[in-house]
């Protein structure tokens, strides 16, 4: 239900980080979800895939981990830094279009 809003917030956090690391691309984002967070993991994974599909963030891996109690926390972001002989054409682009904020459900 509200997992789409959560997925959007995660993606926004990734975009914020990428702005601090020009040229880098995001590979994997780790999120801790506690059993009392009120967040359904399968639904969150589904929503995250749905909002990234067809965007430069398609393929960005969402790594959902068991958190404590009501924890809902970003844990880590794996970035791929640009290299001289790789114009990171495979990876997820940092210059993705700004996403519209979707309604929360």
């Amino acid at each position: 239900m509200h997992e789409l809003g959560i997925a959007n917030s995660i993606l926004e956090a990734v975009q914020t980080e990428l702005r601090l690391h020009p040229g880098a691309s995001a590979v994997k984002i780790g999120v801790n979800v506690g059993p009392l967070a009120g967040v359904e993991r399968d639904s969150l994974a589904f929503c995250f895939e749905a909002i990234t599909q067809g965007t430069p963030f398609a393929g960005l891996v969402l790594d959902l981990r068991e958190g404590a109690a009501d924890e809902l926390q970003l844990s880590y972001l794996e970035l791929e830094e640009p290299t001289h002989d790789d114009d990171h054409h495979r990876a997820v682009g940092a210059q993705g279009p700004e996403r519209e904020r979707s309604p929360g459900c």
């Binding site: 959560i6 059993p35 109690a69």
Partner: protein
């Protein structure tokens, strides 16, 4: 690289601003959460009806559609605003901030925020409230605290509503209380009926506690 910040950090930031403003203006904000039909609006109706006309109280009421609840609550003469979320299953801090625009919080002591009817989604969104209050109506069944532990974990108070129906439905009251306490041992519990009026005195005392 490590991030270690909350997923809903933007909401939490706005909620912290709201909480600071409520504290500064001396407003006790209470966030009411339950499934649809548990009696949030009915409880607020009885609450507003019991206040003196000079009581410094206001209500924000959230729904996906319609302003039916606001119209029900406006009859009692206190400021009431509807927040229509147009699809979202919860209120967030931004909606509350926006809904409060134009209200002088210095004129208020108590603010009720009636969340969208839902036991799951509102759990994650801090609204700057002093306390979350979860309502559980007798017909819903005593297992709800185990099925939806998040909201029972985060609430300061559980209000068991519609207790006048206890003789008619197979609701095990002691088990409901034990279930809530198994999720959160410190949760306070009140039992009310807006039909018979039972328990409303204790409820009125609780909401006006400073």
């Amino acid at each position: 690289m490590p991030l270690e910040r909350k997923v809903l950090s933007e909401n939490d930031r706005l909620a912290a601003e709201l909480r600071a403003e409520f504290a500064k203006q001396g407003v006790r904000a209470l966030n009411l959460i339950s499934s649809p039909g548990s009696g949030k609006t009915a409880l607020l109706e009885r609450t507003l009806a019991a206040f003196d006309p000079g009581k410094r109280v206001a209500v924000l009421t959230g729904d996906i559609q319609t302003d039916a609840d606001a119209r029900r609550l406006q009859r009692y003469g206190f400021p009431v605003r509807q927040i229509t979320t147009a699809g979202a299953c919860h209120l967030d801090a931004r909606m509350v901030t926006k809904a409060l625009e134009g209200w002088d919080l210095a004129q208020l002591d108590l603010l009720f925020i009636e969340n969208v009817g839902n036991l799951v989604c509102p759990t994650s969104y801090d609204l700057g409230e002093a306390a979350k209050i979860v309502l559980l109506s007798v017909p819903e069944g005593e297992e709800k605290p185990l099925k939806y532990p998040g909201i029972f974990f985060k609430s300061k108070l559980m209000v068991l509503t519609k207790i006048d129906l206890l003789p008619y439905v197979p609701f095990r009251l002691e088990e409901a209380i034990a279930n809530a306490r198994s999720v959160q041992p410190g949760i306070e519990i009140l039992q009310v009926s807006t039909t018979s009026g039972e328990g409303l005195g204790a409820w009125m005392d609780w909401v006006q506690r400073r």
